[in-house]
Symmetry: C2
Subunit: 460 residues, 2 copies
């Protein structure tokens, strides 16, 4: 009963977010002159952001807010089914679609910033084996076994894309779950994070290969090797040269200005230029953005002024007793260290929800209430679970189940794959809907399972 | 000699910012597939941001960075004169032009957040009189005296726009100058800030009236009253209802989530929705954004969690001696209070330079090295100085010269007027260039003059 009430509140709140601006818009009419489309796009951004935030009510159920954003998008995108066409223009607004793509670029940059190369070296081989199995098992199962078995008669390209989609591991969701449960520093969490990062890179190489096969209509081993080589060269090159050059560039620019603005501009320009370069070598822009985030370390910004609050507080600490001084210094140092992340965070708050809500808007509900699609979706979901649980077995002497379930959320990366497949006309609306159901289920079921496994482990 | 060297450095640095990405782009070629325009737009954003930051070298000369951003735009926009056409697409990129408009909306929102209604009440009548004289004097001088005298034979609409452009006072630049000189709290600074705020609102009403006259080809007293009434009703209504509703809306949304994300979304959505509504009643979107900023007060966000660092530090302060505790509490309270501004700041860092660089790109240098235009520009500039110095006389028993010179920078608002006039085909390229020279000169000359006046006053 309590749950039904809460669900009612969610639906009501989402509808309010949707209907209030709609009503305002219809009442006021179209009296504005001039750049009409620009002011409409501005309203759409507000509508998307407010719906996304209202949908964060899902956190009450222990669910990550990304799920709420997807659901808000599903509502906004399917109101046409009940005769409300107000939000249909969002789907074709070219500026919204640009902001959405920029949003996912910023998200992968943030994820890259959260990770770093040193952390990845520590979890080392274990994470690498988990990642390999976590990519190979779902790809083979999706492409060659479950795909043809559940959906006979499709093109081999479609099976390839389903397999590729299943390889994804959402670093964002995985990290968020462990963070919410305050378990980011246990070895299992470190392994899952490392493996998810490697998985992302491998998955994106798979995406590049699969996209090339689809767009050029089949591809030889030579071309696959060339794409893989390009991807690895770009990533290795950008990581090696990036790490060498980032401190030098940072030092050079700090000679012009040492303020927050320069720090921000350097970080975001790194992200944008790497996203551009990645696309120039045939990779997705998000690969470049992720690499840019991975390269940038707090130490690269040592030439810049500390944030004002750290500065002000550190100035007062001389007269302080040693114990308190150390505590406060730890706080301000950690704030200073994460200052670049803090500066990028508002850009993420503005742009990332646009990506998820727009993604949700692409879900066609009419195809979802379709028994055959639901059956396919459940079949894909079971495959998604089993193949990642298997990858946990490669983790060695740790809680293998915890690692395996930690790898399950497909999140944004799986959706990106599905969107690209849809844009290439390889993935039909029906399969896209099935994949979205799989993403929603892997995202929805993982947090309670992880919570259960962690509590069980704590009892031992 | 020293100055020549520094200027050489600026030119070199700006050229490097321009040429390096250009070279990279030409070398790599056009091999990228897929959403080509999107990745180009991403590169343009990086080019604009980096040029803007390199141009902040002008701060070495005590000049505000807005001047550097304009100059960087002038360079980027006129490289075609020396045969480099690489950056010409920026001028016609619809997404860059949207981001630029969003940038100026965010800037006016930030300026609104910095001001608040209580502050404006304190400086009260003095600021109001300065504002009135500071709008009426330049408008009459520009429209009826200097305009027709310097540029005979133009349409009365052109004179109207020149007059309107001269009424502007740049809150941003004025505030920045006093802030840089650490004189924000002297009465003269308060009066100038208050008057600049009122000037902005009055100037924008003038803009609405002048735009209506131009677009409907002449306008009666009834229509002027209606536009003025609409503007005042919108502003008064949004301020009264906004102040009443903002805490309620804030409280409602804090029930869903009390985190940073919700705080940010509320603030930015306020800005976007007010910008949209302003355009719906026929005002410029920036008027709405400014009103939204004016309405939002730190107190409206009391329902939300304090930022993490304040929280962490406040937790440690119980064991602390009272003197130190009070000092640290002051620091963290001021940080908490300005947290909304801090959250919006990175959005400004991303979008605001796009507006100024794009504005600079619209300056056609070939029309500037034209003696008649230069003479007109100098005539307009002298008018701009004299009429605002006169407004200082209305300030009563304070340093009248300081107030008058504080009102001189035209900055972004003047440029917005000129851009709108240009888009309406009322302002020709030549007059636009003359206005930009006036804006650059008022922006460039004010900081050294204010510094001189403040030091002279300090000696007394």
């Amino acid at each position: 009963m309590q749950t039904t009430k809460k669900i009612n509140i969610i639906i009501l709140a989402t509808l309010m977010a949707v209907l209030l601006p709609a009503a305002a818009y219809c009442t006021i009419g179209h009296s504005g002159e001039g750049a009409h489309n620009i002011s409409m796009t501005i309203l759409w951004i507000a509508v998307i952001l407010i719906s996304a935030k209202l949908s964060s009510l899902v956190e009450r159920f222990g669910q990550p807010s990304v799920l709420g954003e997807l659901l808000a998008g599903v509502v906004l995108g399917n109101l046409a089914l009940v005769g409300i066409n107000t939000f249909e223009p969002i789907k074709t607004d070219s500026i919204i679609s640009f902001l959405s793509e920029l949003g996912v670029i910023v998200l992968l940059f943030q994820i890259g910033l959260e990770s770093n190369i040193e952390k990845m070296k520590k979890v080392g081989l274990k994470a690498f084996f988990v990642a390999i199995v976590g990519v190979v098992a779902p790809f083979i199962a999706g492409t060659y076994i479950v795909g043809p078995w559940l959906m006979p008669g499709l093109s081999s390209n479609a099976y390839l894309f389903i397999g590729a989609t299943l390889t994804a591991t959402s670093v964002g969701i995985t990290a968020r779950v462990f963070q919410d449960l305050k378990k980011l520093h246990i070895p299992e969490a470190q392994i899952v994070l490392g493996a998810a990062v490697i998985d992302d890179v491998m998955g994106l190489i798979i995406l590049a290969v699969v996209s090339a096969i689809v767009t050029t209509g089949g591809v030889g081993l030579g071309v696959i090797s060339w794409i893989t080589a390009k991807a690895i060269l770009f990533l290795a090159g950008s990581i090696i040269f990036g790490q060498l050059l980032a401190p030098k560039i940072s030092k050079l620019f700090s000679k012009i200005h040492t303020g927050m603005g320069m720090k921000f501009t350097l970080a975001i320009s790194f992200c944008l230029i790497f996203a551009f370069l990645a696309q120039k070598v045939g990779l997705a822009p998000i690969v470049g953005a992720f690499a840019a985030g991975l390269i940038l370390d707090p130490v690269h910004f040592n030439y810049f002024n500390d944030p004002q609050i750290s500065n002000d507080i550190n100035k007062e600490l001389a007269s302080c007793d040693e114990n308190l001084r150390n505590k406060l210094l730890t706080i301000t140092n950690s704030y200073t260290k994460h200052h670049v992340e803090n500066l990028i965070a508002p850009i993420g708050l503005l742009l990332v929800p646009i990506f998820f809500v727009v993604t949700g808007m692409n879900v066609k509900l009419e195809t979802m209430f379709n028994m055959p699609i639901l059956i396919v979706a459940l079949g894909i979901t079971v495959t998604a679970f089993i193949t990642k649980i298997i990858s946990g077995l490669a983790a060695g002497n740790v809680n293998k189940l915890l690692v395996g379930f930690g790898m399950i959320p497909r999140g944004e990366v799986g959706l990106i794959f599905a969107m690209i497949g849809k844009n290439l006309n390889v993935i039909s609306d029906e399969i896209f809907s099935a994949i979205v159901i799989m993403v929603i289920l892997t995202t929805l079921l993982t947090p309670p399972i992880l919570t259960y496994l962690l509590k069980k482990a704590d009892k031992k």
